[in-house]
């Protein structure tokens, strides 16, 4: 019954969650910060890959199209955990082999950077599909009209396609963001001290597993609810001026 007493004894529970040592509140917040850093970095990288991938899939040459199809199919068919595991060792090795091959010394890739790159690479495959669908949803007549005005391809993308597709893409992008924040937990398996790994370390040291897993769960819920709100606001903004197809809700 220790855990139960521990939970309801304010001094004890608060002591374990206190910000400064011997409390574990500080490390938990550091873990949360790591989670957010990796998630934001991977999301930016994944979106960049996604935009390139979507355009490559739609307007690229036959080889680009096929390569993109291989990338999105393979990445989405293999468990993220295994992709992370393979790439986590492969990326630094390849980087260092390239560097030593070019005559430079080995470098140290911080796990946070490798984790971000790996998650961004995986997210890129999903983002490609979401953005491709959104670009296709923009009525073709609009693109043709823009072209008729003499806009260049870049101008068409910047002024017509991208702003319009954002409304269609945002629900999918919101889902990917929520999945990504949870996928950062997979980095725990390779010992990266993000939120989930930190809560396991705290639980292992203090044996108050329930307390720390619950605390971590609450923090994840806060991220989830807050970002859900933000994305809903963004979607409303992106859909401004559009006829309310879905905006009104059921």
């Amino acid at each position: 019954m220790n855990w139960l007493l521990g939970l309801f004894e304010p001094g004890h529970a608060l002591g374990l969650l206190a910000y400064s040592p011997p409390g574990w509140g500080g490390p938990l917040l550091v873990g949360l910060a790591h989670t957010m850093e990796v998630a934001v970095g991977a999301y930016i990288l994944g979106t960049v890959i996604g935009v390139m991938g979507a355009y490559g899939k739609l307007y690229g040459g036959p080889v680009t199209k096929d390569l993109m199809a291989v990338y999105t199919t393979c990445v989405r068919a293999i468990p993220e955990l295994i992709e992370i595991l393979i790439l986590f060792y492969l990326v630094p090795e390849v980087v260092n082999q390239v560097l030593t091959g070019m005559g430079y010394g080995r470098i140290d890739l911080p796990p946070i950077l490798v984790g971000t790159v790996v998650l961004g690479f995986v997210l890129g495959a999903y983002m490609t599909e979401v953005l491709r669908g959104a670009i296709l949803a923009v009525p073709h007549g609009q693109v043709e009209a823009a072209r008729a005005y003499g806009m260049s391809a870049l101008q068409v993308a910047r002024r017509v396609t991208l702003p319009q597709m954002l409304g269609y893409a945002l629900p999918g992008m919101a889902n990917l963001w929520l999945n990504l924040t949870k996928d950062t937990a997979l980095l725990a398996v390779i010992g990266f001290n993000e939120l989930t790994e930190t809560s396991l370390q705290a639980g292992g040291t203090t044996k108050a597993f329930m307390l720390f897993f619950t605390a971590a769960g609450v923090l994840y819920m806060v991220i989830s609810v807050a970002s859900g709100r933000l994305f809903a606001m963004a979607e409303r903004w992106a859909r401004r001026g559009q006829p309310g197809i879905r905006g009104g809700g059921i």
Binding site: G26, V95, I107, D108, P110, Q201
Partner: protein, 257 residues
């Protein structure tokens, strides 16, 4: 894909080339507490016998060493991929491991032992532990030992970390664990170990599976660092620093003969 990796490599190289200039030695420890050899406190600081010894060796050899926690089951790949430079995680020197990494000379040696809940009445022999569920940590010499001598008569359950084995032993989800004797004594000295479990027996030593002692691991290409560590180990042994550190954690000799 290759092109992308190359591009990322170039990006990453630019991003961290500044860091790479400083010559720090990254010493990899397993990411979970392994008392009394390495434990983590809530300020993120690692301490313990092995950590103290590491600092002593590094100080002796004028090396700038930092501790880096890595998942135990990926610690050898992490070394070979260059994420760490040294493994100091109570790793036994075995023939099999020597195929992929190099070791320093041993810096301590421990037999395997059996720890079980207080209610246990059996002997620490394959016959005595027939039909029981024994927890072992994956990728350890003890797992190999348990497989060789207990695998036929008992059920082996493998865990990612010894900390998890201890946890499940305290929870009564396994009947026993086979692990390094000194680490198990460290566990038995903790409150949860004290209240749940006892040492059933020390197992006869087996060179094939348990190896020839515990050493630090290095990349095969890193013979210079290995030589420095060997010198460092010899120096701290001679200067009495080794015994001073040991006295803080043990009341007996853990170096062996």
């Amino acid at each position: 894909m290759k092109k992308q990796i190359l591009a990322l490599a170039a990006m990453a190289a630019v991003a961290v080339s500044g860091v790479a200039q400083a010559k720090t030695i990254k010493v990899g420890v397993a990411a979970e507490p392994y008392p009394p050899f390495s434990t983590l406190d809530s300020s993120g600081k690692w301490s313990g016998w092995e950590i103290d010894l590491m600092h002593a060796i590094c100080k002796d050899q004028h090396l700038d060493c930092v501790v880096k926690a890595v998942a135990w089951d990926g610690i050898i790949p992490a070394l070979n991929a260059g994420q760490i430079d040294v493994i100091m995680a109570s790793m036994s020197i075995t023939k099999k491991r020597e195929k992929v990494i190099d070791f320093s000379n041993k810096y301590y040696v421990t037999p395997a032992a059996v720890v079980a809940p207080k209610s246990a009445t059996y002997k620490a022999t394959p016959e005595g532990m027939k039909g029981l569920t024994i927890g072992v940590e994956i990728g350890t010499t003890n797992q190999a030992y348990a497989k060789k001598f207990f695998g036929k008569t008992a059920t082996l359950k493998t865990y990612q970390t010894q900390d998890q084995v201890d946890q499940d032993l305290a929870a009564g989800r396994i009947d026993a664990t086979i692990a390094d004797q000194f680490a198990l004594e460290g566990f038995l000295a903790t409150p949860s170990g004290k209240s749940c479990c006892k040492l059933v027996g020390v197992l006869p030593y087996d060179n094939e599976t348990l190896g020839t002692g515990i050493g630090a691991g290095f990349r095969k290409s890193d013979s210079k660092l290995r030589a420095e560590f060997n010198k460092g180990i010899a120096d701290v042994r001679k200067s009495g620093e080794y015994d001073k550190i040991t006295k803080k954690y043990f009341n007996f000799n853990i170096y062996g003969n």
